[in-house]
C-alpha cells in the first residue's frame, strides 16, 4: 500500500514511537527494580542459608548491589544498551547467551500458534456470521457460542495435557514432549492456538455481523457485486480492523502463554527457563527473560497499531 503524502503519517509515527519509548522505559526500570523489591537479601536467598558470608558478599559485589542505587541504575542501562544482560547466578553463563539460544524455540511456537489461530478464526467467524445473520440458523448459533464459551474456559496448558493424552498417549500420533522434528510442533502449537482461535472467531463473527448491516455493504450490494466479493472485499477488511486490536492483545498474551505450554511439553524455550530461574532465585536470568518477553509484547502491540493504521487510515489521525 502506498503511503499518502500528507502530514498525518509522521505525526502518527511520532506519537506511536513516543508511546513505545515510555513503555520501554517503564519495562526496563521495572526489570531493574525487581531485584530490589525482593524482601530481604536476594543473594542470600539465591545461594541458600548455608552459603558462607564472604561468598554472598562477593556475589553482591559482582552484581553491583553494593553501590548506590542510582549508580546501579546507570550501569544497568549502559550494559543494556551494549546488549549485556549480566551473568546467571546459578549457571555462571551470560544471560544473553542463554536467551539467544532459547528464544527461537519460543518465538516459533508463538508465531505458528498465532498464524494458526488467525487462519482458523477468520474463515470460521465469517462463515458463522453469514450463517447466523439476522436470526437465521439459531441452532448453529447456539452450538457455536456454547462450544466457544467452553473452549475459551479451558486454559492452554490444560488443553496441552488433554492433547497429550488423546494424541500422544492414546494414539501415539505425535511425540509427548520435546522439540525434535516438525511433528513435535503440532501439539504445543495446537494447545496454544485453540483458545485464541475460539475467542477470535467469536469476535470476527460479531464484527462481521455489525459490518454486514452497514450502509456501505448495502451500497456494495446495490452495485450487484457477487456475494463473495461483497463479503470478502467490502465487509471483511472493516471487520478485520476491529478484530486486529484484540488479535494483537491475543498475540501478546500468546507470547506469555508459551510459558505454561512449554512446561507441559518440556519445550526448550524461554518459558521453561524462566520458571526454573524463578524457583532457583536466579535474578539476572529472570530479569533478562522478563525484558525479552516484555520487549516482544511491546513490539507486537506497536506492529498491530501500524497494521491497523494501514488498513484503516482513520485510526492514524484519531486519538489512539
Amino acid at each position: 500500500m502506498k503511503i499518502p503524502t500528507s502530514g498525518r503519517w509522521p505525526r502518527f509515527a511520532l506519537r506511536r514511537a513516543a508511546r513505545l519509548l515510555v513503555s520501554l522505559w517503564v519495562l526496563v526500570t521495572a526489570a531493574f527494580l525487581m531485584i530490589h523489591l525482593v524482601p530481604g537479601d536476594p543473594v542470600r536467598a539465591a545461594l541458600g542459608p548455608t552459603a558462607p558470608a564472604d561468598l554472598v558478599l562477593a556475589r553482591k559485589q559482582e552484581l553491583g548491589l553494593l553501590e548506590p542505587l542510582w549508580r546501579q541504575y546507570v550501569t544497568f542501562l549502559r550494559h543494556l544498551l551494549s546488549g549485556e544482560l549480566g551473568v546467571s547466578i546459578s549457571s555462571r553463563l551470560p544471560v544473553g547467551e542463554t536467551i539467544a539460544q532459547r528464544l527461537p524455540a519460543t518465538a516459533q511456537l508463538a508465531v505458528a500458534a498465532f498464524l494458526l489461530a488467525v487462519a482458523v478464526a477468520v474463515p470460521v467467524g465469517v462463515a458463522m456470521a453469514t450463517l447466523t445473520r439476522r436470526g437465521r440458523g439459531r441452532r448453529v448459533e447456539l452450538a457455536f457460542t456454547s462450544t466457544n464459551v467452553v473452549i475459551g474456559a479451558i486454559p492452554d496448558f490444560l488443553l496441552g495435557v488433554g492433547l497429550v493424552y488423546l494424541l500422544a498417549v492414546q494414539t501415539h500420533l505425535f511425540p509427548v514432549a520435546g522439540r525434535d522434528g516438525l511433528d513435535s510442533y503440532v501439539l504445543p502449537v495446537l494447545a496454544l492456538a485453540i483458545g485464541p482461535a475460539a475467542v477470535l472467531s467469536r469476535i470476527v463473527r460479531v464484527e462481521m455481523l455489525a459490518v454486514l448491516e452497514t450502509d456501505y455493504v448495502r451500497t456494495a450490494r446495490a452495485k450487484r457485486l457477487a456475494s463473495l466479493r461483497v463479503h470478502l472485499v467490502h465487509a471483511l477488511p472493516n471487520a478485520v480492523t476491529a478484530t486486529l486490536t484484540l488479535g494483537g492483545l491475543l498475540l501478546s498474551s500468546l507470547v506469555a502463554g508459551t510459558v505454561l505450554v512449554e512446561n507441559v511439553f518440556a519445550w526448550p524455550g524461554l518459558g521453561s527457563s524462566i520458571v526454573s530461574s524463578i524457583v532457583a532465585k536466579d535474578y539476572p536470568m529472570v530479569q533478562g527473560t522478563v525484558l525479552v518477553y516484555g520487549v516482544g509484547v511491546l513490539l507486537v502491540n506497536t506492529l498491530v497499531d501500524v497494521v491497523l493504521a494501514l488498513l484503516d487510515p482513520r485510526s492514524a489521525i484519531g486519538e489512539s
Binding site: V26, Y216, A222, N238, R314
Partner: protein, 610 residues
C-alpha cells in the same frame, strides 16, 4: 424478581448450578473427604480408576477423587483472595484522578495504561519473583497483576459517573473526596464491578492453577488443583486421569464463575446478548402474478413488505402499485414510517430475509426481480443514491476503485480502464481534481462531495432508472440544491428516469413530474407534481402540504402540524389508516379501507373542496 428471571435462562441456570456445586465442595470438601484424601494406602500406589477410587490413586495410594474435592477449598479461597486484592487495588488506582487531583491522577492513569498493555501472565511472573514462590506470594502476585485491568475499568466507569450532576452537587457542598467516592461514586459503579469481578475470579482460578502447575504457587504438602495437575503430569503415560481429573475440576469451576458473571451481566443489561426475536412464519397470502405495464422502466403491483417482529409481523408496505415511464421523474412523499424508504429498497431488490417482499410483479429496467438471477444485471441499468453519504461509502477503500469496481465487475473492463472511467465520472459529477480525489478515502470527502460521488457511481453503468432515497436529507441546504441540480442534469444527459423518495414536499414538487403520497404503507394519492399544492384531494396530502411553511406563512402563529400520531404498523386499523387523524372521517371510513380510484384513496374525496 430479576434474579429469578436470570436463573430461568440456560446460561444463568448452568452458571448458578455449577457455582453452587463448586462452593459446596469448597465448604464441605475438607470436612467430608479430608480423611479419605489423606489416607495412605501402600498396597494401592498409582492405581487406575476403579469402583473404590473413581479416578485412581496417587503415588502414596491416596484417593485422587477425594483429593480433587478437598482441593476445591484452597483453590477457590486463593482465587477469591487474589480477586479481592485486584479489585481493591483497582478501585484505588482507578479512583486516583478523583482522590489525588488531576495532575497526579493523570500520571497514575497513564501508568495503568502502560501496564495494561502487558499480558497478565507476564505481570504475574514478575510479581511472583518479587513476592517469592509459595501460596502467599502467588496470591499477592496474581492480585497485584490483575489490578491494572480493574483500574482501567474503574477509571472508565467512574469517569462516566463523576460527570453526573449529583456528584458535582456533593463536591460543591464540600463533601470530602473519600466520602464522595464511598457514598456517591462506588454504589453507582458497583454492579458492573461485581459482574467483572465474578468473571475475573474465573480467570484468576485458571491463572492460579497455572502457577501451581508451574510449581510457583501452592507448595507440598498443601495442594490445590494446579498442584494436583503438576503431580499428575509426570505420570500421564500410565495414569492420565490423575492429570485430567483436577483439570476438569478447574475448567468446571472457571465456567461456573464465568457463566454466573455473564448471567449477571445480562441481568444488568451490560452484556451483548440480544433479545430473542421470534421469527414468525405465518401463512403467506398468495399474490396473483400480473404482467408489467409496457413502456415503463419500473412497474410494480401489489408490493408488500413484511417485517417479523416480537409483537407480530409489521406490515410496513401494504400493497403498493405504480409504474414509472421511461425518462419520467416520480416523487414519493410521506412521513417517516409511511413505508416509502422500504418501498425504495424493495424496488432496488436490496431487502434481505427475514424481511419479506411480495408482489404481483416487480419489473425494474426490464428485469423481473421476482425471478432469480435478475439482480446482477441491474448493476449497470439501475443507479441508487442513498440517504446518508457519510456511511454509504466503504471506509476501507479509496473512492476511485469503489466506482471502478462497477465497471470491472459488470462490464469486464481492466483495472486501469475502469479507473479512468471512474475519474471521468467523478469529473462528470463536478468533482474538482478528479484524479487526486479518486485516490483519496471517503473520509477525506465532504458530505456533498460524497453524495455527488455516489451519483457518479450510478453513472458508471448506463442507468435507465435512478432510485434516490432521501438523497438530500443528510446535507445542508446549499449543498442540497447542488445535488438536486446535478440529478436533474444527469437525467437530461442520460435520459434516465428518477424515483425520488423524500419527506420534503418542496423538493419533490421542484424536481418531479408526478407525486405519490404514501401513508401507513399505502399510496393514498397520486397526482401531477404541479397540482400537489393546489389540487390535492386526500385530506392527508392537504395536511402534509399545509404543514410546509412558505414565504406567505404567518410566522406569528404556530406552524401547522398534522394532529395525532402516524399509524402503528403492527396494528393497522381495518378501515382507512388515516381515519383516526382525519377531520372528515366517519364510521364508514373507520370500517372500510378505501381503494386507490382515479388517483386518490379516500371515501370523502368528492366532499373535499378543491
Amino acid at each position: 424478581m430479576r434474579a429469578a428471571r436470570v436463573l430461568l435462562r440456560p446460561v444463568g441456570f448452568a452458571g448458578f448450578g455449577l457455582l453452587t456445586l463448586v462452593l459446596l465442595a469448597a465448604a464441605f470438601g475438607p470436612v467430608l473427604w479430608g480423611g479419605r484424601a489423606a489416607a495412605v494406602d501402600t498396597g494401592n500406589l498409582l492405581a487406575g480408576p476403579s469402583a473404590e477410587h473413581w479416578i485412581g490413586t496417587d503415588n502414596l495410594g491416596r484417593d485422587l477423587f477425594a483429593r480433587v474435592l478437598v482441593a476445591a477449598r484452597l483453590s477457590i479461597l486463593l482465587a477469591v483472595a487474589a480477586t479481592a486484592i485486584s479489585l481493591l487495588l483497582g478501585i484505588l488506582l482507578g479512583a486516583a484522578p478523583m482522590l489525588l487531583g488531576r495532575r497526579l491522577g493523570r500520571l497514575v492513569t497513564s501508568a495503568v495504561n502502560v501496564l495494561v498493555a502487558f499480558p497478565g501472565l507476564l505481570l504475574v511472573l514478575f510479581f511472583a519473583v518479587v513476592f517469592g514462590v509459595g501460596a502467599r506470594g502467588a496470591v499477592l502476585a496474581v492480585g497485584v497483576a490483575g489490578a491494572p485491568a480493574f483500574a482501567r475499568l474503574c477509571h472508565t466507569l467512574m469517569a462516566a459517573v463523576s460527570e453526573r450532576d449529583y456528584i458535582a452537587v456533593a463536591r460543591i457542598a464540600g463533601v470530602s473526596r473519600i466520602r464522595v467516592l464511598l457514598r456517591h461514586v462506588l454504589p453507582n459503579v458497583a454492579e458492573p464491578l461485581v459482574v467483572n469481578a465474578t468473571m475475573a475470579a474465573g480467570g484468576v482460578l485458571l491463572t492460579f492453577a497455572g502457577l501451581s502447575f508451574l510449581g510457583l504457587g501452592v507448595q507440598a504438602p498443601s495442594y490445590d488443583w494446579g498442584k494436583l495437575m503438576q503431580d499428575g503430569l509426570n505420570g500421564i503415560y500410565v495414569h492420565p486421569l490423575a492429570a485430567l481429573g483436577p483439570g476438569i475440576a478447574v475448567v468446571l469451576a472457571g465456567l461456573a464463575f464465568n457463566l454466573t458473571g455473564e448471567a449477571f451481566a445480562a441481568m444488568f443489561g451490560l452484556g451483548d446478548s440480544p433479545g430473542r426475536s421470534r421469527s414468525l412464519e405465518e401463512p403467506r397470502e398468495p399474490v396473483a402474478a400480473t404482467p408489467a405495464v409496457p413502456g415503463t422502466v419500473l412497474s410494480v403491483e401489489g408490493l408488500r413488505v413484511t417485517i417479523p417482529g416480537p409483537a407480530g409481523p409489521i406490515r410496513a408496505v401494504r400493497g403498493v402499485t405504480f409504474s414509472v415511464s421511461d425518462g419520467e421523474a416520480v416523487g414519493v412523499v410521506g412521513e417517516s414510517g409511511s413505508g416509502k424508504s422500504l418501498t425504495a429498497l424493495a424496488l432496488a431488490g436490496l431487502i434481505e430475509p427475514p424481511v419479506r417482499v411480495e408482489a404481483g410483479h416487480l419489473v425494474v429496467a426490464g428485469e423481473d426481480l421476482m425471478a432469480a438471477g435478475a439482480h446482477r444485471r441491474l448493476g449497470t441499468s439501475l443507479a441508487i443514491v442513498f440517504q446518508d453519504p457519510m456511511t454509504s461509502f466503504n471506509p476501507a477503500h479509496r473512492v476511485g476503485p469503489q466506482l471502478a469496481e462497477v465497471s470491472r465487475f459488470h462490464q469486464r473492463i481492466g483495472r486501469r480502464a475502469a479507473l479512468a472511467r471512474a475519474v471521468d465520472r467523478l469529473r462528470a459529477v463536478r468533482i474538482r481534481e478528479p484524479e487526486r480525489r479518486a485516490r483519496q478515502y471517503p473520509f477525506e470527502f465532504s458530505g456533498g462531495m460524497r453524495q455527488r460521488a455516489m451519483i457518479g457511481m450510478g453513472l458508471m453503468g448506463d442507468p435507465r432508472l435512478i432510485i434516490a432515497d432521501e438523497p438530500t436529507t443528510a446535507l445542508d441546504v446549499t449543498v442540497q440544491r447542488q445535488v438536486l441540480e446535478l440529478l436533474a442534469e444527469v437525467r437530461r444527459d442520460t435520459g434516465a428516469a428518477l424515483l425520488l423518495i423524500s419527506h420534503d414536499v418542496s423538493v419533490v414538487t421542484d424536481v418531479c413530474d408526478r407525486v405519490l403520497v404514501m401513508y401507513a404503507g399505502r399510496v393514498v394519492e397520486e397526482l401531477p407534481a404541479k397540482d400537489l399544492r393546489t389540487l390535492a384531494r386526500h385530506p392527508y396530502t392537504r395536511a402534509l402540504v399545509a404543514a410546509v411553511p412558505d414565504m406567505d406563512t404567518d410566522l406569528s402563529r404556530p406552524l401547522a402540524v398534522i394532529p395525532g400520531l402516524p399509524a402503528d404498523p403492527v396494528h393497522v386499523p381495518a378501515g382507512c389508516a388515516f381515519a383516526p387523524r382525519c377531520p372528515l372521517a366517519d364510521d364508514h371510513c373507520r370500517a372500510v379501507a378505501p381503494a386507490l380510484v382515479a388517483g386518490v384513496a379516500c371515501h370523502k374525496a368528492t366532499e373535499v373542496p378543491v
